[in-house]
């Protein structure tokens, strides 16, 4: 709420907000929600790393250097050391954020969009609901990583196919979230009112239902993204992800597992990047939930 606004009457033009006001409002919001502040900073940091990877003192992440195998960390030129074929771990870890963020964000967008369309339709059409939700129940009873592995076996390993496979595993859950929100909204008085003045079902779905489920959807999207980042790493680690030469964090751990006693740093760095990225996303989700849904009492 804007503190400068003195009257809520419709005909009073609210005073223009300066950039400084907006920044102050945002800072105050973040101060009230430390989860959000920490999570968002970590996430933005990861995004910056992904964008600026080429200029952050990196070299070609896929370039082997046979003479520099197993260089320990904290050496000049190789801050995180080099791996079993001499590739620079700093560069690979930084470039790895591109794969993780691409997968996380794409899966979130695809799964949420598809889930919204299917969920709203299911909430409004009984026949469609019966068929589709049985199908979704079936999909949901297969643990997501297992379904993703099976799909990857069919599709073949590439970043694009990882996005497809993970979207398929996430769509049923997104559909459930949307559907249950729609089912509780459609009985509200304002929906009844708009129906009584002759609004068509598609119009109600788009103009009245959709805006009211945006908040839970945004929150769910952050959870989908963090789950997708983790699942991508699991798939890569199990050999079901993008090809080995692509620098993804899961691939890095998979390549490092045979050198655990000789070069533990090969495993530690990609894992730390992964942990922090997922942590940033899920903290942002918790923060967003607190901000967007004030009905959930904050107990801490």
């Amino acid at each position: 709420m804007n503190k400068n606004q003195t009257s809520t009457s419709a005909w009073v033009k609210p005073p223009d907000l300066t950039i400084k006001d907006r920044v102050n409002d945002l800072l105050a919001l973040l101060k009230r929600h430390p989860n959000m502040a920490v999570g968002l900073s970590i996430f933005l940091f990861a995004v910056l790393i992904a964008i600026f990877a080429p200029v952050l003192w990196t070299s070609d992440p896929s370039m082997p250097a046979p003479l520099e195998r197993f260089t320990g960390p904290w050496t000049t030129g190789h801050w995180f050391g080099t791996d079993n074929i001499g590739r620079d771990i700093w560069s690979r870890a930084l470039y790895g954020s591109r794969i993780s963020l691409t997968v996380g964000v794409s899966v979130a967008v695809i799964a949420i969009s598809a889930g919204t369309i299917i969920g709203i339709t299911a909430g409004y059409s009984h026949k469609f609901d019966m068929v589709v939700m049985r199908f979704m129940d079936g999909l949901m009873s297969i643990p997501s990583i297992i379904l993703a592995i099976a799909l990857m076996a069919l599709l073949g390993g590439s970043v694009q196919n990882v996005i497809i496979a993970l979207s398929i595993t996430e769509i049923p859950i997104a559909t459930r979230v949307v559907r249950s929100a729609v089912l509780s909204l459609r009985e509200r008085t304002y929906i009844e009112a708009s129906r009584s003045i002759g609004a068509t079902t598609p119009r109600i779905m788009i103009r009245h239902i959709l805006p009211n489920i945006v908040a839970p959807l945004i929150v769910h999207a952050t959870y989908v993204a963090s789950a997708a980042v983790l699942l991508e790493a699991y798939l890569s680690f199990l050999g079901a992800g993008p090809p080995e030469e692509i620098p993804s964090w899961g691939n890095m751990v998979a390549g490092a597992k045979d050198y655990l006693s000789r070069a533990p740093y090969m495993i530690i760095f990609p894992g730390l990047f992964l942990t922090f990225t997922v942590l940033g996303m899920s903290l942002s989700g918790d923060g967003l939930r607190d901000i967007l849904d004030p009905k959930i009492k904050r107990r801490s």
Partner: protein, 314 residues
């Protein structure tokens, strides 16, 4: 009660049928020809035909579907493309290690997370509560395989307390069997603990604000009694439910853990099958995992009646 059990069993059938249909579809919705994918580009014509035949791909779709369901009802999941072993038999040999890791992880996680959740709710906003919350948030974020390797590095490579990899059957040597379980269970347990711990805390917080808790306290009952027999009993239902929900997460985790610690279970079978596209084995494993999830969720549904006598199965 028995009527309810029967109805729940019947309700499980459509879910399982859908899973079987999805698993059947897996091989047929894929772009391109699965037989060509399996044999690769250098194969001879005969090899290709052989694979097509052994997958039944040369028959019309509805006949394939009929055969698939017919065989399923007889417990026949087909044969591996390599070595002609029955998939049912292969899974049978590998189910004990998978079940062991899963069961120990669930017991261990519940034993740690439920008390932690209770204490966190009881001492809400204290440093204990905050540490539990930080721990659960981290638990969601730490990648399981990474934690597995860190544990392996610390406790097997450096300290040499536990074996790094492998599995010993309990029939062979019980001590060794437990010894090999410790690190995998710790690695798999973190995320499950996070989920159960959070849910326990949230439910207990809700229950502890109820009037009957104030009544129990005001009549001078000991705090442990208030917590355990008044609060926990009422919080048990949602906690058990979340343990059921965590099962899918847990089994997915076991698949990863088995591949970290080289445990010869179903997860390793699945991943090995993936590397040479052994579709019948992939289909069989996915189906069995889904069936386990469905059956255990049914058992949890049934346990509600034991935990809460108010629930009558109508």
């Amino acid at each position: 009660m028995s009527g309810y059990i029967i109805r729940r069993l019947l309700a499980m059938i459509p879910v399982l049928l859908v899973v079987a249909l999805v698993v059947f579809a897996l091989i047929h919705i894929a772009p391109g020809d699965p037989a060509a994918l399996i044999v690769g580009t250098h194969a001879t014509e005969e090899k290709y035909d052989l694979i097509r035949e052994s997958l039944g791909l040369n028959k019309p779709m509805y006949i394939q579907l009929g055969i698939w369901f017919g065989n399923l009802f007889q417990g026949d999941l087909g044969e591996s493309l390599f070595g002609k072993t029955s998939v049912t038999e292969m899974i049978g040999q590998r189910i004990v290690p998978t079940f062991s890791v899963a069961a120990f992880t669930l017991i261990f996680s519940m034993a740690i997370a439920i008390p932690l959740g209770i204490i966190a709710a009881w001492k809400a906003n204290s440093w204990i509560d905050r540490s539990v919350m930080v721990f659960t948030t981290l638990g969601y974020s730490v990648p399981l395989f990474w934690l597995g390797f860190i544990l392996m590095w610390a406790f097997a490579v450096k300290l040499n307390w536990f074996p790094a990899i492998g599995y010993t059957a309990p029939t062979e040597n019980v001590g060794d069997y437990f010894y090999h379980m410790v690190l995998p269970v710790l690695a798999t347990g973190l995320v499950v603990m996070a989920l159960i711990g959070r849910m326990t805390r949230a439910t207990m917080l809700e229950v502890l604000s109820e009037d009957y808790i104030r009544t129990a306290r005001s009549k001078g009952l000991a705090e442990t009694r208030v917590l355990l027999s008044h609060a926990l009993r009422n919080a048990m239902l949602p906690i058990i439910t979340v343990c059921g929900i965590s099962l899918a997460l847990l089994l997915g985790g076991v698949v990863v853990t088995e591949n970290v610690f080289a445990i010869p279970g179903m997860g390793r079978l699945l991943v090995n099958a993936l590397s040479h596209r052994d579709y019948p084995v992939i289909q069989g494993t996915v189906l069995v995992f889904a069936a386990i999830v469905a059956v255990i969720n049914l058992l949890i549904d049934l346990s509600y009646g034991l935990l809460d006598p108010r629930i009558r199965y109508k």
